[in-house]
Amino acid sequence: MTPPLLSIQGLTKVYPGVVANKDVTFDIGEGEVHALLGENGAGKSTLVKAIYGLIRPNEGTMLWRGQPYAPHAPAQARATGVAMVFQHFSLFDAMDVAENVALGMDNPPPIRELAARITEVSNNYGLPLDPSRMVGDLSAGERQRVEIIRCLLQNPQLLIMDEPTSVLTPQEVEILFRTLRQLRAEGRSILYISHKLEEIRSLCENATVLRLGKVVGRADPRQESARSLAEMMVGQTLHTPSRPAAQPGKMLLEVAELSVASPSQFGTSLKGVSMTVRAGEILGIGGVAGNGQDELLGALSGEIRAPAEAVRMAGDPVGHYGPNARRALGLLCAPEERLGHAAAPDMSLTENALLTGAWREKLVSRGFVSWGKARSFAEKVIERFDVRTPGPWVAARALSGGNLQKFVIGREILQRPSVLVVNQPTWGVDASAAAAIRQALLDLAQAGAAVVVISQDLDEILEVADNFAALNGGRLSAPRPVQGLTMDQIGLMLGGAETGETDVAA
């Protein structure tokens, strides 16, 4: 029997205070697409970093075609035949495609030669790419192509892909899958990391499930249901948020022809965004990362100013107001980036409670802060939203992603918003916290608030939203009711093909 391409045996990696991987064992065969499944924090990233030579495991061995394999640097892993496409891209915005590719290679040919090969390989695999373009100007899908081409040029035997589809539209996912199947047909192996079960079921023939750093299951995903895989991954029966039928009330948030320039150099400016949200309604805004989500949140929170008439709260023009004036009217927001935007990492939860709660919760009088009140507000958030922390004096950065997100969302919800806008409310959050957050959003809408959920997770939007709109290149499609919407229609909306005016496309 020939040995497997890569055999991982008893791998353990301990960080101070955390066991990231414990006794992980599995094999990847030649020409196999192997899925590594697990929630955020299950230890998937640590594991692939060890395979790619970015970290060294404390214990355990790896065998490459039967030979000991212990890479101490990515260069060695690449020389062996391992290539990796990162979840958060390892790209350089201010450099062109060819330079970016060259940086990922150990012995790059001269740039001109490389550019020719990039064009050739990218066409062969159906991933067209212009080597002279600046990476900062590329879309998320195109950026991923740069990463993939970079790997393919090294002729890898094993390609590691870390959450590759989280930034892609359904159509782009199809293109990617065609490429991956072509690679498998060439006899290459792929280690595919994801928590999206449908993808794994359509692509992979073997799956290893990780939970809290340990292997908790092995399966042939084609034989399993998405639900059984999910329960293996989460380790408990999943609670699906409950949603009573919505009865839309009066108009609370109106956005009309909102156009603002992006404050960041490679950002996306908003172009003529219009939408309305009524009391009791949840509007889901989908879209691939970098299509204007941050800018939309900024324009709604007041961090980016707009013409007064472009944003209306219950009929009043508020586009020219700053964040605190909007808060006073009941328009509250929770940005995507928890550390550094929604919360200050090195400040205590009490101080972070003051960050947005200062005026609405009357934590400040005549400019002077009442720290006692701020602390009780923080404690209230911690208690009501089940934030796991020793107390309000703890620094925000010491909390896990899920706990901090519960704190951030809870901080806004407890201020009784009439409109709440959240961006990526459950990104990087464990399943139970995600379920709790979604339930809280539903409850808020039920209680009569208008809620806007901006998310790249379509499943999430379909679960909570009444209406769906898509952001593409800074433009927003007209919202459509979620009920009866098919994946194909959503894909077209995300790709910008759907203008929403008529159903010509369908």
Partner: protein
């Protein structure tokens, strides 16, 4: 092998301990430096840190000097600390100090020789306004044109120094000074003079102003929402905008406060210890105040202690210069090393240092 590991929360204990350890390490390193210079290190350290306060021979003269020198350092440093907390780097306090002094002297010279109780308050206002205006140049350039305030404020120090030279040799020169550079002696003009308040203490009105500034800053940072916004802007600028802090307003406020404080320090100096506008009027207080601000952990109370300590090194340095023939620059090196050690030790507040023994690591894991 040593490795750094980020702490989940910054260590409070190290935050307080690092300045003390830094001072001790600087004494050791300074001792080595003095040995290299051929001086007895113990004698030199004692002369710098002990004798100015406690020796029978020098204390009578030196002790009052402590407040004379600490006053401007503390006043400038508390102003700077507000901006530093917000990530706004005014490093041109020396220039604002000079311009403040020039404006105050201009008021005094304009009124001379008329006596009025209004002259002194007017000079304070002029000094503060002068420093404020000089600081507004980098502030407005930053908010309007996004120009780096570090470079502009620093370059303006050189401009201010030239302006000072022009004043001392030109438009402010004492008409009765027999052609020597330097203005009239403001300290001898009763309405404008900044005298000692209690004889023998060295406390002049600048010390009082420093005390009020410390109190003001303490309350603002601890209790007022502005203080919270300043810290927020320094630690997480995006979160600050989310919290409704307007970055431009913050820059103007922080630069303005620090400029006004530095300008006032210049005013008290020119009307007091320095006595007049001269070419070498500025003694580097604006730069030393940066060290004071950091050594005091940007905390008003800490700055008072740090200001007293740095004032001590000035006085002790002069003493050592006089007694041991120690070069004047040695004390500057000493102050520079203090800042190095402080910055180096700061790592302990935010990181844990761990000893990793590669061979043992595996056996421990069993």
């Amino acid at each position: 092998m040593l490795r750094l590991e980020r702490r989940p929360s910054p260590s409070k204990a190290w935050n307080y301990a690092t300045p003390v350890v830094a001072v001790l390490l600087t004494m050791v390193a300074g001792g080595i430096l003095f040995t290299i210079l051929g001086k007895n290190p113990f004698e030199a350290i004692k002369l710098i840190f002990w004798d100015p306060l406690f020796s029978e021979q020098f204390a009578a003269y030196s002790r009052p000097q402590l407040l004379v020198k600490a006053g401007p350092l503390i006043l400038i440093a508390v102003g700077l600390s507000i901006g530093f907390r917000a990530g706004i780097w005014n490093i041109g306090a020396e220039g604002q100090y000079i311009v403040g002094a020039l404006c105050a002297a201009a008021v005094a010279l304009a009124f001379y020789p008329a006596e009025s109780v209004l002259v002194f308050p007017l000079m304070i206002v002029a000094g503060a306004l002068g420093g404020w205006a000089w600081a507004m140049i980098p502030a407005i350039l930053r908010t309007r044109f996004n120009t780096n305030e570090i470079l502009v404020s620093l370059l303006l120090v050189y401009v201010a120094e030239k302006l000072l030279a022009a004043a001392a040799t030109g438009f402010m020169r004492n008409p009765q000074g027999a052609g020597f550079p330097g203005s009239r002696n403001i300290n001898q003009y009763a309405s404008a003079a900044n005298h000692e308040i209690f004889a023998g203490t060295g406390l002049h009105w600048g010390g009082v102003a420093a005390f009020i500034a410390v109190l003001f800053t303490y309350i603002m940072l601890q209790r007022h929402i502005l203080g919270f916004q300043v810290q927020l802007a320094g630690q997480a600028p995006r979160a600050a905008r989310f919290a409704g802090v307007a970055p431009a307003r913050l820059v103007l406020m922080c630069m303005g406060i620090s400029g006004a404080f530095a300008g006032m320090a210049g005013m008290f100096e020119v009307a007091g210890p320095a006595r007049l506008i001269s070419i070498d009027f500025n003694a580097g207080y604006g730069f030393t105040a940066i060290i004071v601000a950091f050594l005091g952990r940007l905390n008003p109370i800490g700055i008072v202690l740090a200001g007293l300590l740095l004032a001590l090194t000035y006085i002790g340095g002069e003493l050592a210069q006089f007694m041991l023939n120690l070069p004047a620059a040695a004390i500057q090196v000493f102050q520079g090393m203090l800042l190095f050690f402080l910055l180096a030790l700061d790592v302990l507040s935010n990181y844990r240092v761990r000893l990793f023994l590669p061979q043992r690591a595996t056996s421990e894991g069993v």
